[in-house]
Subunit: 469 residues, 2 copies
């Protein structure tokens, strides 16, 4: 079967998987049966991983259990060259965490989660006055003396967008807010969660302190708790403004206890598997997801779904017949805590040729746009891909593909990339919270992902050497 | 102004409060102004109470602070005879709570909350095999030996209804499930939350053990955690069925730690306030809400909203001119943990005459139905009320009014009752969880409640002695 024929066949299988009318392909009944049997493969991977392993923070025993599970399951599914590639990384783990607003109003507990790399307050906790900033920019602009010895609070509620592009902007409060606060002498920092929901489940995530900056306790409040802090802060300000002498007593006070620990260098690892191509001289396609998750939820959305999607798509292509190029699956370790798996893969394999790189790490909701970063030679290839995904509601974007965290180093080094951009409207409702659980995965949208990935992967895996390096 | 005229006037004010066109009432500008100024009074009460006091579990210092706040605010609002009426009650408070599934799969923590009156596991916790029941009825039907020494789990997911009528049916798992499990010799019991959401915020609530039955540890899992337990249980069953010899090792195991404490008799109290009527011989209208809340959330929906609604409505009637009958507000204490406030009110005032009783304790969403339980003499009165609320989307129901928990003893003793039934479709998403916070209150629907209550209260407070006792 030629490339076009095979792609059409796979698109037909994909339509079946989407719940459309079954297409009769008399010459390939076995492939159709297999595809139908495996049409829920992505769901099964997500359910299996999140049920039997659950949360799987990088370099913990849970992540190691997930790797053992992954190697076993990938072999069962018929992938080749399945292996772990381990690496060492600095490891931080959560401890106890409690926060309360303790004055000037009746004491109230808040829902809080430490940020990765937060310092400990010690077992007795700390108490301090809140200093309010309406944004990361406002904190940056503040004089050191306004911050020194206080507990910084950054407000600034993230708003949802389909492409998730607000993460970079709002996320600064988490990524570097603690570092800025530490440099200005803050006692600690609490931020409004980088999240778009209204549940009392704070959004964790990693923060980084520059070399030479002493880490401070750093944590995120859920949105309703941040709202409550803001309401109390405004009332305390009003009281302070009204009463001339009693001003000092109207400061908003917080008690904060965080006891995370640094465990030093621990072992994480990537899991790699392949669908070997028929042409050993052709460079492989690399497709990535990450196996680790944050510790609060079971990581169904982030990123069991991504592993389910890329793996089901590769399996569909495998079922349809051996592709020309090898498809290599990278189930990366330790993405959440600093992309250690992506770096380790690049260190080990960065000098090998890769035809193109793709990653799925944005939940389980539908793909709505495809973006390319391909060599000039691949112009017709991109057109074929754009045409193949259009029937599934995927439009062609005009911005260059970015790749993704785990393939970032490859893309930086010049490997071509394609982004199959998912709808992120509700992604940041769940991202890095305890609410990232299987029930949040929409099975219909998950299937659309698999269908689109299958169509794209089939085209790529059978592309010529004139088109891709 | 006669009764009909005053009612029409108040309905006009109410329409303004709903955001409808302002009605020009040249003769009463002050009342209109006042009503407009206070059209957000219910919101303000909910915000003020939940912000400055927050969670306020019965007979704790937080509830006492809420009573002090309530007395101050009700006086400021111009109510008369504002007072606390205190009483003693047995008091249970939450301790630490942790649960994990510890086998046969990788250990995973679950989100859990102890039920009120749960026993403690002691500080070391307990470990046991899960015995699964798909409903409360299945537990009741089980042989003692199937349960003895095990941790009972009751599944049975509550489904939402507009009238909230599933609570009685599904709620049995919480109300009496622990008592049934204890009598059969269970080590402990965990239930699927009596709730309709999919967030990892368990629903607490009181359970009761019969005299002579030794309480056991009892707690609720969030719906996603219950889902996870069920998935693991099914997989463990399948393993057990498949492997003949290794069957015993495939039991689903839980570790459970709950350290609640009983504090003995502590002080709670009701807060009472009045709009004095012009006719001292006329029996009063009693309208109720409850001031206490569960400890996990700030009790915005349950039941700060109810207090906001009845109080704003009474204030509207007050502003419009003195009513014939006294309107008595009961902000009951200790409803959540056993309706101790309602009982205390009945003990103190049950022999006084009450014309009619109403309660608001079902969230902040819109009123959609009115039900009556009135004497034959009030037939025309009920017709007037049904006609007055119809423009606000409230239909007339055919079932007898039930009253509400805090006025339950009065209604039982023969006091007439009217139910202004609220839309409960999302009420059990939030009920008794940490997610019961101010952001969940829909200001527009809250206003509709105030408008409907105002219209009804105005009619009732000016009803004749021929119509109501």
């Amino acid at each position: 079967m030629n490339i076009i024929g095979r792609t059409a066949c796979i698109a037909a299988l994909s339509a079946t998987a989407l719940g459309g009318p079954a297409v009769a392909i008399a010459s390939e009944p076995t492939a159709v049966e297999l595809a139908q049997r495996s049409q829920e493969l992505a769901w099964w991977i997500v359910e299996d991983l999140t049920t039997e392993i659950g949360p799987r923070q990088a370099a913990t025993e849970a992540e190691a259990a997930a790797r053992r599970w992954a190697v076993g399951r990938l072999k069962e599914m018929g992938f080749q060259n399945v292996r772990e590639e381990s690496f060492k990384m600095p490891t931080w783990v959560r401890g106890d965490e409690q926060a309360s607003l303790i004055g000037p109003f009746h004491p109230q507990k808040l829902a809080i989660a430490a940020l990765g790399n937060s310092a400990s307050t010690g077992p007795k906790g700390v108490e301090g006055d809140i200093v309010y900033f309406d944004s990361f920019d406002a904190l940056q602009a503040a004089a050191d003396q306004a911050v020194k010895g206080k507990i910084v609070f950054i407000d600034h509620k993230m708003q949802p967008t389909q492409d998730g592009s607000g993460y970079g902007y709002y996320g600064r409060g988490r990524f570097t807010g603690p570092n800025v606060a530490a440099k200005k002498g803050a006692m600690a920092i609490v931020i409004r969660s980088i999240g778009t929901d209204d549940h009392r489940n704070p959004h964790t995530g990693v923060t980084n302190f520059e070399a030479g900056v002493k880490p401070i306790p750093a944590a995120a409040l859920s949105n309703p708790d941040a709202d409550q802090l803001v309401r109390q802060w405004k009332r305390a300000q009003a009281t302070r403004a009204a009463g001339s002498n009693s001003g000092a007593s109207a400061a908003l006070k917080m008690k904060l206890l965080l006891t995370p620990r640094n465990l030093g260098q621990q072992t994480s690892g990537n899991v790699i598997a392949e669908v070997p191509g028929s042409d050993p001289a052709a460079s492989p396609i690399i497709i990535a997801c990450h196996l680790d998750s944050w510790d609060l939820g079971t990581g169904a959305i982030d990123d069991a779904a991504g592993c389910g999607i890329i793996t089901a798509a590769a399996k569909h292509v495998m079922i349809a017949g051996q592709p020309r190029r090898t498809i290599r699956l990278l189930w990366a370790g330790a993405e959440e805590v600093g992309v250690f798996g992506g770096k380790a893969y690049f260190d080990a394999h960065g000098k090998e040729k890769h035809a193109v790189a793709l990653e799925s790490d944005f939940g389980a909701d539908r793909i709505w746009r495809v973006d390319f970063k391909l060599p000039e030679s691949a112009k017709a290839l991109a057109d074929r891909i754009a045409a193949a995904v259009m029937p599934f509601g995927v439009v062609r974007g005009k911005q260059p593909a970015g790749g993704g965290a785990d393939i970032g180093a490859l893309v930086q080094a010049g490997v071509p990339a394609i982004d199959l951009a998912q709808d992120g409207t509700r992604y940041f409702d769940l991202h890095h919270t305890s609410d990232d659980t299987l029930d949040k995965v929409d099975a219909v949208q998950l299937r659309q992902n698999v269908v689109v990935w299958t169509a794209v992967l089939a085209i790529l895996a059978n592309s010529s050497d004139d088109e891709l390096p």
